[in-house]
Each structure stands twice: as structure tokens, then as C-alpha cells.
Amino acid sequence: MALRYEYAVETEDLAKYYVMGPVTVRALDGVSVKIRRSEYLSIMGPSGSGKTTFFNMVGGLDRPTRGKVFIDEVDIASLDAYELAWLRAKKIGYIFQTFNLIPVLTALENVMLPMVFTGVEREERLRRAREMLTRVGLGERLDHKPGELSGGQQQRVAIARALVNDPVIVLADEPTGNLDLHTGLEIINLLKTLNTEKKVTIINATHDLKMIDVSDRIFWLRDGKIERIETRAEVAVKEVE
């Protein structure tokens, strides 16, 4: 029987310092947070506040200088290269500002790629990729290459790719950063719908204020530290005032 932990992600005194000549940049400086399962979370803050660094640490894409990251109660620093690759392939879905699709592969093949690494049979890969792309509204554009798709469509492919392996968490780094207002809103709503439907934890690093409306909680980050944590209700009250 699969265990269901209450928290999808936990960080303990997470810090990342970059040494640049004589100065040490504290990109992230002691962040301890707990993120519940199926929560829709936004990490907000000005650029340079450490959002992307947090994203990279939690996603197991970079090693912290200090502190720990637990995903499903497993300390990811204790994983070897093989287990880390499995974590990235199966448990985490990534969405980037610049979409990062493989340019030579079609939308369908891009979505199939993560399932190659998790060892899904070819037929099943095709079926699930089709289903997922249809779900994000691209059922008609399966055989288009990223270059033939608009920004919003490319981000939809990226979302389908991130979700196709049924990950525990989806990490999105400025998912609306390269999109216009309207398209950005569509992407936000799509993420929210999938969050509710699939009960997947979604963590956004963003400074798009449209995100607040759908977020369960907002972490405000400043100079590598958590400034405050608010729920959507709290933010709404403040806006009224």
C-alpha cells in the first residue's frame, strides 16, 4: 500500500550561496517551509529574491550549500545519481519560462519523452501523450514542432509533458513570464484545473500577480528569506483595505 505523507515538500534551513570573487551572494538564506499535498502554491518576490534558486533546490537540479530538502519525506541529498534521475523523471514535473521543449521533436514526441525514461511501453506512451495533449487543448496539434506553435501552445505542451508521468509535484518557474496577459491567464487557469483534477502539488515561482487568485498560499520571498506566508483569503482582505 502506498503511503500518503501529509507534506509533499519540506525544506529545512535551505541555503544557497554563490561566491563571486570577494563577495558571497546569499541567493537563498535559511528557508524552512512545509508544502502540503495537492496544494497550489506561489512563491512571489522581486527578481533576485531567490525564487529560481528555491525552484532549482527543490527540484533536485542543484545542490544546496546548507540545509535539506525532503520530497515525500525522502532527503534528496541522500539520493545517488540513479535515484535522483528517477526523482526528476517520475516525481517532479518541470515547467519553465522559456518552455524548453526539444525543438526537433513534435508536440506528441516531447510529451512521450519523460515516459521513455520511466520505461513505459511505446503503445502506452502514445496513448497517454495523446490523452494528455488533448486534455490541455492541443489534440489537433499533436504533430506540430515547437517552432510551429505559439508561446501559449508551447507552454501547454510543456504542461502536458510535466504531468504525463503523474508526478507528486509540478514545479513551474515563471510559467507566464513569456506570455501575454490573456494567454498567461489561460495557462494559470489550466494549471489550477489540473491541480484540482489530479491532486498534484503545484509550486510556482513567479511575480505574476494574477497567480494570487488561484493560489492556496503565497510565500513572499525577499533577499533569500521568507518574508511572510499568506493564504489567498489574507491577501484578498488586504486588497480590500
Binding site: D62, R63, A81, W86, A89, F96, N100, V116, F117
Partner: protein, 211 residues
Amino acid sequence: MSGEEGVKFPLSEAFSFSLESIKRRFGRALITMLSIILGIAFLTFLLTTGRIVSVLYGEGSGVAVQFYQLWMAVIALLICSVGIVNSMLMSVTERYKEIGTMKCLGAMNTHVLEIFLIEALLLGLIGGAIGAVAGWTIATVWQAFTQASSVNIFMVSASLWTEFNINNPLLLLANPLVNIALSVIIALLAALAPAYIAAKLSPTEALRYEV
């Protein structure tokens, strides 16, 4: 969790991925291949011509001539390696971002390395084969039409393909098949360093990389 845990990337998947990558970036692959073709064609042309001439005028043209020919071969090899190294370097570095993405999706260092080495192998093999055949053909036809000799130059030239004399480096190198093998080896070696560096990058570093 099932017992199937752990990332997979069988060689067959790596091979089809590399092949598709070459096919769909055909223009780019052609440029890379062109430098291989030219290098190997140049090498094969030089060595084939050398062999034909030494057969026509006798093997005993002296140690100096042999030495001179060997030097030419080494220089040709050098020029062809530089071209191949350069284009391999380009073709790997311009795909750093793709490597970063692959690693986010679960690719391990060895998988990235596999993809690039298979690509290099295919490019080296195809480019080497085209180059060797082209160089050999041009050299043979040229000699056949310019040399007035009773010896059948086509026969001499054709025999080079079956010549495997490990004791005589000039003879061995004059075999176009050996040139194709060299092409594969050089392409692999040239791709190894940049591919290894790329494979070892952390995903964030690879993604940050802009060409």
C-alpha cells in the same frame, strides 16, 4: 511503488533518438558531415595518388620519398582532425539547453553521453564512407587520365581496398576502409570531450547556457 523503479534508456532508444536527431537536423548534420567528408576525401585522395604513383614508378623510389609521403599523410590527417573536432564541438555546445532539459526529464549523464557518441559514430561512419569513396574515385580517375602507363591504374587502385599490411603504415593508410575507420575514431574522440563536459553539467548550468 512498483518494483520497476529506476530510470531506463535502452540502447535502442538512444540509437533511434540519435538517428532522428540527425535526420531532423539534416542541414546541421550535413555541415558537420561535410567537414568530415572533405577531411577524409583529402586524406584518401592523397594516399591513393601516392600509392598509384609509387606502383607506376617502382617501390624503390627511395626512403626519402616514402618518408615524404608519410609526412603528407600525417599532415592530411591533422587537417582533417581539426575540421572534425571543430564541427563536433559546435554541434554539442549548441545543444546544451536540450541537454539540460533531457536531464530534467530523467536522463542521466551516461544517457546524454550515449546520445552524442552514437550521433558522432553515425556522422563519422557516413561522412567517412562518402569522403573515402569520393577521394579514392577522384584520385583514381585523375591518375588514369593523366598517366600514360601500361599498368591498369584502376586495378592498382581497386586493390588498395583489400590491402591490410600492418607493417607498412603508408600501405595500411592507403586502404580507404582504414580511412573510414579513422573517420569514426576521430569523430568519436572529437565528440567525447565536449559531450563528457556537457553530460557532467548540472541541469541548471546546462539550461542557463546560451549560445
